[in-house]
């Protein structure tokens, strides 16, 4: 079972809202591999702040519109 991070995101939705942008196109805009975009979307990888900001910039939205940090219900 894949390990998921607490960082969730709405990249899939944002891609759809931006002309059904492909993962490859987003990856090219940000400068990462398509596999990394897939891993981020699936919650298997938390990107660096720099990549996170770059993704938000591609969609023209603030960082918190793309990423959110899940509340720790066990704490």
């Amino acid at each position: 079972m894949p390990r998921s991070t607490k960082v969730t995101n709405d990249i899939r939705t944002l891609r759809f809202m931006h002309g059904e942008m492909t993962q490859a196109a987003l990856a090219k805009s940000v400068g990462v591999t398509r596999q990394t975009i897939i891993a981020i979307e699936q919650g298997r990888y938390s990107p660096s702040l720099e990549v996170a900001f770059q993704i938000a910039r591609v969609f023209g939205v603030p960082l918190e519109s793309v990423f959110s940090y899940a509340d720790d219900v066990d704490a």
Binding site: T5, T33, R44, P47, S48
Partner: protein, 148 residues
């Protein structure tokens, strides 16, 4: 699949393949022979060279195979360089592999302290080096599929 991920796959195959062949060559030589009489320098040197050759060949074959496969599917072939995720996975796997290798170094020191024949010290270091490579590559592939 990025070039780094192809290299990890090729490394895992190379370490396992060369390890099996080397063991198949050396184990029969050690049975009933004294360490001084065993010819091991050339086989080990060839094994080390073979690892490099198999990794390079593996990357080339998988890249060409991937490009052909993508073309057949009507997709554009991917020749992606690695990114920050590849680098993090590489560092993670290398650190784990080196920690395995450090046990081999400790074992080699203990053997040397006890005047054990260099043959056994070399075999230990080579075996643990292979094991460290296998562990590191396996953990990298696990990180690629399941996340860090």
């Amino acid at each position: 699949m990025s070039m780094q991920q192809r290299t990890v796959w090729a490394s895992l195959i190379a370490f396992i393949l060369v390890g099996i062949v080397y063991a198949a060559v050396m184990i029969p030589r050690t049975i009933g022979s004294s360490p001084e009489a065993i010819s091991w320098v050339w086989p080990m040197g060839i094994a080390m060279g073979s690892i490099v050759v198999v990794i390079i060949a593996g990357v080339i074959v998988s890249t060409i195979g991937g490009a052909i496969s993508a073309t057949v599917r009507g997709e554009e072939p991917e020749f992606e360089e690695g990114d920050e995720r590849d680098k993090q996975i590489e560092n993670y796997g290398d650190a784990k592999g080196l920690s395995v290798g450090s046990f081999g170094a400790l074992g080699a020191i203990i053997l040397a302290m006890n005047d054990v024949d260099p043959f056994w010290i070399a075999q230990l270091l080579f075996a643990v080096g292979l094991l460290g490579g296998i562990v590191g590559a396996a953990l990298k592939l696990r990180a690629y599929s399941r996340g860090l």
